[in-house]
């Protein structure tokens, strides 16, 4: 194999890498995907809910055939205190188009299917191999080294995820900082289709997405999530790394705390745990995006920090797919000009800048600053809890006026100036 030279080598068979490879193969290019897992998807963890719009462009109608779990028709956002919960549930009831639909997904199954689709269009898949380093010729990346075996290509597309040691090794990005990433810790629990429909008020293939702030992370920056799959639920917590140690509760204990919350425990009771997983989420937002190209190399997906976490929505998969598609477009153009220099591949940067990836990430550029405010994860759920308690508790005693009570409860926790400051940060972030 070492004699052969590919048009492109893609490192990492996740959504970014597979999309890039799929598009390149469709343009008749010789492309190799190297994945360290036994199969594509065997190392990949998401929440998860995939917004389909970007993959729909690459593979129209894919949702008909792909192993997706359920179509999300119900949104639940919850504010939790140790024992209480304020749930907001929303169902739009409006019909979805293939572009606006979103589905719950289990990546080990989905990526495996996607890899098969790639093979069908001529991608060469090499799973079970870890790329150890990139090969340089002068200042140009010319190939990869995996366990001493060298493989060469005009361009290497890095789609190796959040822990992109390879992008770090060539100075495209620095080591991740604790405030830029969160750890996600998750279980998949089998309940059966009927039980899920009953417990979550769902029918047929309809699904629920639930995101939670407050108690699961004991007031640390982060939250809990729960997604209904076909016959299981994905339940987990996401907690920002710089907050670890702020309270004396470990990451695995936060997940247990969430699972045992009085409002969650009845939902998962009697289930059969299938898997326990953990994965980092880049959350630094726009300001964390590294340089996306250099001579002979491009960076995509989580490796490029293309994720936004707004608390009520998490998006990384639709960005990964789009960035893979755009990387392929830039490579196809570079191939036509037979120029894989940084100047030529800078076209990828331009494509990203003109895409929804940049627009959306830029819009929420200051959101990470809002999430840094612990009030949101501590005080807001508590205030919501006492207000609702006040609203619904009848004890025959003289009532206190609700507005006065609210002002009092807020004043107990924060000062007017701090509140104003929080509102200003929020306005800036949104």
């Amino acid at each position: 194999m070492s004699e052969e030279k590919f048009d492109a080598i893609v490192v990492g068979g996740g959504l970014a890498g597979l999309t890039a490879a799929y598009c390149l193969a469709q343009a008749e290019m010789e492309v190799l995907v190297i994945e360290r897992g036994t199969f594509c998807g065997s190392k990949n963890v998401t929440g998860g809910r995939i917004y389909t719009h970007s993959l729909e462009k690459v593979m129209p109608g894919f949702a008909e055939e792909a192993p997706l779990e359920r179509k999300v028709t119900k949104e639940r956002v919850a504010l939790m205190t140790e024992k209480g919960v304020v749930n907001i549930e929303y169902a739009s009831g409006k019909p979805d188009t293939p572009e606006t639909a979103s589905y719950t997904v289990l990546r080990s199954k989905f990526d495996k299917w996607f890899a098969e689709k790639c093979e069908e269009v001529g991608v060469m898949m090499v799973p079970g191999i870890r790329v150890d380093s990139l090969i340089k010729d002068g200042d140009k990346i010319v190939g990869i080294d995996a366990g001493g075996e060298e493989m060469y290509a005009d361009v290497v597309i890095l789609a190796d995820g959040v822990n992109s040691l390879l992008a770090q090794s060539i100075g495209l990005k620095p080591e991740l900082k604790p405030e830029q990433v969160a750890v996600g810790c998750k279980e998949v629990i089998q309940l059966g289709e009927d039980v899920i429909n009953q417990r979550f008020g769902l029918e047929g293939n309809d699904g629920l997405s639930m995101l939670v702030a407050g108690d699961p992370t004991v007031g640390n920056i982060g939250g809990g999530f729960l997604y209904t799959n076909k016959d299981s639920v994905s339940i987990g917590i996401v907690a920002t790394c710089s907050d670890i140690g702020r309270v004396d509760v470990s990451i695995p204990d936060m997940l247990e705390r969430f699972k045992n919350h009085p409002s969650i425990e009845p939902l998962i009771k009697g289930g059969l745990p299938l898997e326990y997983s953990a994965h980092l989420v880049p959350e630094g937002g726009f300001d964390m995006i590294p340089k996306l190209y250099d001579n002979g190399v491009l960076v995509t997906g989580d490796a490029a920090a293309f994720v936004i976490n707004l608390g009520y929505t998490v998006r990384g998969m639709d960005f990964a797919v789009e960035s893979g598609r755009l990387a392929a477009e830039a490579v196809i153009r570079a191939k036509a000009a037979d120029d894989f220099s940084a100047a030529s591949l800078a076209y990828y940067q331009k494509l990203v800048e003109n895409s929804f990836i940049y627009t959306d990430m830029k819009q929420y550029r200051n959101f990470p600053k809002l999430l840094e405010r612990h009030e949101i994860f501590n005080d807001v759920p508590e205030i919501a809890d006492v207000l609702f308690d006040r609203l619904f508790r009848v004890d025959g005693k003289k009532p206190v006026s609700l507005p006065m009570f609210a002002i009092d409860e807020i004043a107990k926790r924060t000062s007017a100036s701090k509140l104003l400051e929080l509102v200003m940060v929020a306005l800036d972030a949104l």
Binding site: R36, G37, T38, G41, S42, K43, N44, V45, T46, L106, R107, S108, K109, F110, D111, P127, G128, I129, R130, A146, G147, V162, N163, L165, E175, L176, K177, P178, V181, V183, G184, C185, E187, V188, S232, S234, C241, I244, G245, D248, V249, S250, I251, P252, D253, L255, E256, R257, N260, E265, P273, L274, E275, Y276, S277, A278, H279, L280
Partner: protein, 95 residues
């Protein structure tokens, strides 16, 4: 928390193919800053960092390959971190 499931039991749900001949993570056992050690102990979803009697012990068996320990320790507790070799480590069937 009455019904806390031990992490060891949870790791039992997964498929692991542990590489006995290569530790993809190495720790700095000489590093003695308790606050830094505490953070890494709290951070690891697989509870692989054990701190007892002033000694930090680590074994990569059961690693979920998330990278959290590396990021949290900022080069102090964790000396080196890499992905396991191909096919080694955890194989997720759900994801």
């Amino acid at each position: 928390m009455a019904k806390k499931v031990p992490v060891d039991d949870k790791l039992g749900y997964n498929n692991f193919h542990t590489d006995e001949s290569y530790a993809h993570i190495e720790i700095n056992s000489d590093f003695k800053d308790e606050e830094e050690i505490r953070k890494v102990v709290l951070a690891c979803p697989a509870e692989l960092y054990k701190y007892e009697n002033g000694e930090l012990a680590f074994n990569h068996e059961g690693c979920l390959e998330c990278g959290t320990c590396r990021v949290v320790s900022g080069g102090k507790v964790v000396k080196s971190w890499n992905h396991p070799y191909g096919e080694m480590g955890v194989t997720y069937m759900q994801g």
